[in-house]
């Protein structure tokens, strides 16, 4: 199985096959994130096209020294999906998105293992914390909006979101 970096290098040379292989590897991740955020298969499919065409046009947008391709695609797909959901122009230049994680998600087995573990962790979180985290992540709601929706103090919401993310990190550090 060729490494992500080799496929990105292939795309730089104009290899459609490299693009196809990267699509096969990461399209389920990009699509499922988009679908979860947008709740619409057509919109999720459009976003999938947009993300991969962006990478095809300019492979240098992804800098392999700045993290793994799978993690980077997950983050920029989620961010773009939130932009679409909130009907706003992209807020961040994707080339500025640095994802400090070396986790290799190239293999399907790796991705499935991570998925199971994250789902397990989310399932074990207090429901209020999980709700705050998911509202911020999948709905793009600000802490003020979540606070207004749940009636809980702003500071509490902020802390729940941060500690939720930290709990995920900690689980994968051990």
């Amino acid at each position: 199985m060729p490494a992500d970096s080799a496929l990105v290098a292939g795309m730089r040379q104009g290899s459609e096959d490299a693009l196809a292989q990267l699509y096969d590897r990461y399209s389920p991740l990009v699509y499922s994130v988009a679908l979860r955020v947008l709740g619409d298969t057509g919109a999720a499919e459009d976003l999938l096209q947009e993300v991969f065409m962006q990478l095809w046009r300019k492979p240098s947008l992804f800098d392999s020294s700045r993290g793994s391709l799978g993690s980077w695609l997950a983050v920029i797909s989620r961010n773009r999906a939130i932009d679409v959901l909130r009907k706003r122009k992209p807020e961040t230049d994707v080339s500025d998105v640095i994802v400090a994680v070396e986790r290799d998600l190239a293999g399907e087995a790796d991705r499935n293992r991570v998925m199971e573990k994250v789902r397990g962790l989310l399932g074990g979180m207090p429901s209020t914390q999980k709700a705050a985290l998911e509202m911020a992540y999948f709905e793009g709601l600000s802490h003020s909006e979540i606070s207004a929706k749940t009636g809980e103090p702003l500071g509490t919401i902020k802390t729940r979101i941060r500690t939720g993310l930290m709990a995920l990190r900690k689980a994968f550090e051990t």
Partner: protein, 254 residues
């Protein structure tokens, strides 16, 4: 953790793209200066990627793959344009160049300063030699145990003599006297500078030693006074502002 607890919660919100208003402005300002918080932001994005993994499951429709490849065919890859580098990318090179220029400038200046110091050291050495000679002359002239001999015409008794050496531009005066008769204990000899115009100017008090010798070295004098003559009178110990007659010795410039 960054250690900057006040920004910890806001960093998580910023990673999620949901921080706005003043809080966002304040955090972005802080991020410009804080590498530790920038790293934490990147780590939080890594955490976000994990959260995305929880959604894995649904696969895109099969047609999506062909749609993408068709689109890619319509936009064949060109040799990728050079990445637009951020404006600040050349700054380290510019800074290096500026530093190199500063270094060269400082080296040249340093060499110049070294030459200047060497020249000053040579001047100081020369001045020390001159000073030593001057000291020896003054020491000889003013030594209490110096043998002072005034040569006069044979068979003539020794006469009181005074020698004034005056440099107007420096207001410098050296006066040497020999064979001076003693003065009463409450009296002093007073040397006068007689200018070409105006009243005589006091130029120092002296009392001869047992051998009749005396010196006056650089008494306080007004600047740049042209002297017509020098004269000596006998005055009270405290000195006078105008000469008391008679003049006991006088000499005009040669």
């Amino acid at each position: 953790m960054s250690g900057h607890e006040q920004f910890a919660d806001d960093l998580a919100l910023h990673a999620l793209g949901v921080l706005s208003g003043d809080e966002r402005v304040a955090l972005e300002k802080h991020l410009e200066e804080c590498a530790s918080c920038r790293r934490e932001l990147e780590s939080l994005r890594g955490d976000m990627a994990l959260l995305a993994m929880s959604t894995a499951g649904p696969r895109p429709p099969a047609r999506s793959r062909q749609r993408l490849l068709d689109a890619a065919k319509r936009e064949p890859r060109r040799v990728e344009e050079k990445t637009a580098h951020p404006w600040w990318l050349p700054l380290p090179w510019i800074a290096t160049g500026v530093l190199a220029l500063i270094l060269i400038f400082m080296s040249l200046q340093n060499a110049g300063l070294r030459r200047q110091v060497a020249s000053m050291q040579r001047d100081v050495a020369g001045q020390q030699v001159e000073l030593q000679k001057a000291r020896e002359v003054v020491a000889t002239l003013t030594a209490s145990d110096a043998m002072r001999v005034t040569l006069v015409a044979a068979k003539a008794p020794p006469q009181p003599q005074g020698k004034a050496i005056y440099v107007r531009d420096r207001s410098s005066l050296i006066f040497l006297a020999s064979n001076m008769p003693p003065v009463p204990s409450d009296k002093m000899y007073e040397l006068w500078l007689i200018p070409t115009t105006g009243a005589p100017i006091p130029a120092g008090l002296f009392k001869p030693d047992a051998h009749g010798s005396a010196t006056v070295i650089n008494p306080p004098l007004p600047a740049n006074v042209e002297a017509k003559a020098f004269a000596i009178t006998v005055e009270p110990e405290a000195g006078s502002t105008t000469p008391t007659m008679p003049i006991v010795m006088v000499g005009a410039g040669e």
